[in-house]
């Protein structure tokens, strides 16, 4: 009886232990599945109910195109940058020109803005679509000269403005606060230029 009685009891405990282990494994599997689904939700598909809401957004970034030139002076090369977005054209324009002055990131491209040149001030008149940009003296003083190089400098500035600020219709470039005839003896800068002609 004892043995017979112990047999079922021992067998029952074994079954109970096995069942408990199975239950734990099953619970673990279910839990893992939920966790993995929850984690996928962050990067993978989420229920359609979790659609974007209409919360207001903070000013973020703006994708802008910067214009550089190829080493053989034959083509223009456009690079992308992410810059802080602003509701003011002047701020965005200044940030774009500073990025242009900083030069290209890609290999094979040349930044045609002379070393040390940077925008000192940007004024925008939205009524006329006119912008006045005052560059530091390095734009002229550090310019290597030659019409190809000079054209590249002016083209890069004007085309970058045209690509990113279609609202600008007239652009006056100053150097060190003064109007200049040219940067290096060729391209006329003593008049407002229409960036749209650089498209």
């Amino acid at each position: 009886m004892t043995a017979a009685g112990k047999g079922p009891v021992r067998g029952g405990r074994l079954w109970l232990a096995l069942a408990a282990v199975a239950a734990l494994v099953a619970l673990g599997a279910v839990a893992l599945r939920f966790v993995s689904q929850w984690r996928e939700g962050a990067q993978g598909p989420a229920p359609e109910a979790a659609a974007p809401d209409t919360a207001s957004a903070q000013p973020g970034t703006r994708s802008v195109q910067l214009v550089f030139v190829s080493a053989d002076a034959m083509t223009m090369i456009t690079e992308l940058r992410q810059l802080p977005a602003s509701n003011r054209v002047e701020e965005e324009l200044r940030a774009v020109l500073e990025a242009l002055c900083a030069g290209p990131e890609g290999r094979g491209a040349i930044g045609p803005i002379p070393r040390g040149a940077r925008p000192l001030a940007v004024f925008y008149d939205d009524r006329k679509g006119a912008v006045l940009i005052d560059f530091s003296r390095e734009l002229r003083d550090n310019h290597p000269g030659g019409s190809a190089a000079e054209r590249a400098t002016v083209d890069a500035i004007l085309r970058t403005i045209a690509l990113n600020f279609p609202e600008v219709r007239a652009c006056t470039l100053l150097v060190g606060g003064e109007q200049v005839e040219t940067l290096a003896g060729h391209v006329a800068l003593d008049r407002p230029l229409d960036p749209r002609r650089w498209l």
Partner: protein, 535 residues
């Protein structure tokens, strides 16, 4: 007891079995049928693809990084930073790295990582594939651009999955169409233009005419004629760098041709004439324009008699111009070639040559045009050496003035400037532009002649005839060009440019080209003026 004790045990066993089955069931089902979720899983190791994007409206090209992020799918994804650049969009994060608003053309597109739903003021769209978060940005399937953003902004998006090319916006062409008009003994080809353009017609061989339109794009499908019509056998167009090149094959009966532009710039007309007698018939310009006397049209042919040539040695004095890698000064090379050119041309009877500077003095740019005008110059040739940021650039290029504004734009600008008081200076420049527009066809012809001669004689790289807003060319009452004779920033070219033998070759070649131009126009009456000839 046994029964009582076995009851909960069995219940527990059954429960465990059920739980295990519940946990195992989806995996088992997936083994038999495709898991729908598997299709929307991020492939974190998807390699980068180079997507070439073109924006015809701005003639700009971008290389973007694409990835096939969706496991088991060929759908190509772009980051929102790349996608935003295509539409000039800005991105405002609602929740950093998870939700953002793409703003373009006054429209909002709200995107959420992991979701297929795009919401915005244009309504809701359910994409076939979800947006993914990756590397601090959201990545969107191209379907978002082709199906949602493009249509909402009325910008067609063309995606070629085999070539990985993406075109955004309408194709832009400056030369947009061709109309053939039959006249009594002539055929007129009307090339429709989106804006006023500078052109040059020439006949390189019997039965063939070339119409080169500077700085223009052309739609070859719209500017084509396969079947003969009138005196025209065929017309084809191609994009040759920055210029549009139109080839016209003509009937052997054609003896003369003439190219001119409608005064509003809306078309360029190539008139092909059969026989030589009688007055040229007048084709009807598209759009009812008030006919103007031919003399008033900037593009009207005119006779040119070259008696005085102005040679302008670029830079001078403190203005050294480009300094070569080996120390050569541009102003010295320019002056040496200018003096030699004066000697070459001075040998010609009836030709006077005036230098804007004959020593190392600084002459203001505006003064140079003034000297040319005071001397009643017929041609203005400015001599320069080029310079680049590296040694790589070589070759010869010749410029003529690009008008700051076309006639049509000028009238708009005048209105704008008059509206904004106190900007009289702008009007002054517009008037100068109009003056040079008067000579623009002659200038381009002279530039082509000099450029071709230099490339032939020097064997130099032909960088082409180009237009630019060069200050020294503004204000001259005559055809005016600027010749870049070589790059001082390249060591080999610098060595040649300072060599007196090479300087003599440059002067002789430019001089011969000027004489060729003069002779071609010599005694030209109205009928033989520029843009005309025998095919």
């Amino acid at each position: 007891m046994t029964i009582n004790a076995n009851g909960p045990r069995r219940l527990l066993i059954v429960l465990a079995g059920l739980l295990a089955a519940a946990a195992a069931w989806p995996a088992g089902a997936a083994a038999q049928t495709p898991d729908p979720d598997a299709y929307t899983r991020l492939d974190a190791n998807a390699p980068a693809l180079a997507v070439q994007a073109t924006l015809p409206a701005t003639r700009s090209a971008l290389q973007l990084e694409g990835r096939r992020l969706l496991a088991g799918s060929l759908e190509v994804y772009l980051s929102t930073s790349g996608a935003a650049a295509l539409f000039g969009a800005r991105r405002d994060w609602l929740e950093e790295g998870h939700r953002l608003v793409l703003r373009a053309g006054g429209r909002d597109f709200r995107l959420t990582a992991g979701s297929r739903l795009v919401t915005g003021d244009a309504g809701e769209t359910l994409l076939r594939a979800p947006v993914f978060a990756r590397g601090g940005d959201l990545w969107v399937p191209l379907e978002l651009l082709t199906r949602v953003v493009g249509p909402a902004l009325r910008q067609p998006v063309r995606w070629d999955p085999s070539r990985l090319t993406l075109g955004v916006g309408r194709e832009r062409a400056d030369v947009t169409g061709l109309r053939v008009e039959q006249l009594a003994s002539a055929t007129a080809l009307h090339f429709a233009c989106a804006t006023a353009l500078t052109y040059r017609a020439e006949s390189p061989e019997q039965g063939r005419l070339l119409l080169k339109i500077y700085g223009a794009t052309v739609d070859p499908e719209q500017v084509a004629l396969d079947a003969p019509q009138g005196l025209v056998a065929a017309v084809s167009a191609e994009q040759a760098g920055n210029d549009a090149l139109i080839t016209v094959r003509v009937d052997p009966l054609v003896t003369r041709y003439r190219a001119y532009a409608a005064e509003d710039g809306s078309e360029i007309v190539l008139l092909l004439e059969e026989g030589q007698l009688g007055a040229l018939p007048e084709p009807t310009p598209r759009g009812a324009l008030t006919p103007l006397p031919a003399d008033a049209s900037p593009a009207a042919p005119r006779p040119i008699t070259v008696r005085t040539v102005i040679i302008d040695a670029g830079h001078g004095g403190d203005e050294t111009g480009r300094i070569g890698a080996g120390g050569a000064l541009e102003k010295d090379v320019n002056l040496a070639v200018a003096r030699e050119l004066k000697r070459v041309l001075g040998r010609q009877d009836g030709l006077e040559v005036v230098l804007t500077r004959d020593d190392d003095s600084a002459v203001p740019l505006a003064r140079r045009a003034e000297i040319a005008n005071q001397a009643s110059g017929d041609l203005f040739v400015s001599l320069h050496c080029n310079g680049w940021f590296s040694e790589r650039a070589t070759g010869v290029e010749t410029y003529f003035l690009s008008p700051a504004k076309t006639d049509r734009d000028a009238s708009v600008a005048r209105e704008e400037n008059w509206a904004a008081e106190g900007e009289g200076e702008d009007i002054e420049f517009i008037l100068w532009d109009l003056v040079q527009n008067r000579f623009i066809t002659d200038s381009s012809d002279l530039a082509e002649t000099v450029q071709a001669a230099l490339c032939r004689a020097l064997g130099a790289e032909n960088r082409g005839v180009k237009q630019a807003g060069f200050r020294v060319l503004v204000g001259a009452y005559m055809p005016a060009i600027l010749v870049e004779m070589g790059f001082l920033s390249n060591g080999d070219e610098e060595a040649r440019l300072v060599d007196p033998d090479h300087q003599r070759l440059l002067a002789r070649t430019i001089g011969e080209a000027i004489l060729e131009y003069r002779d071609r126009h010599a005694g030209a009456g109205r009928d033989d003026a520029d843009g005309e000839g025998r095919p």
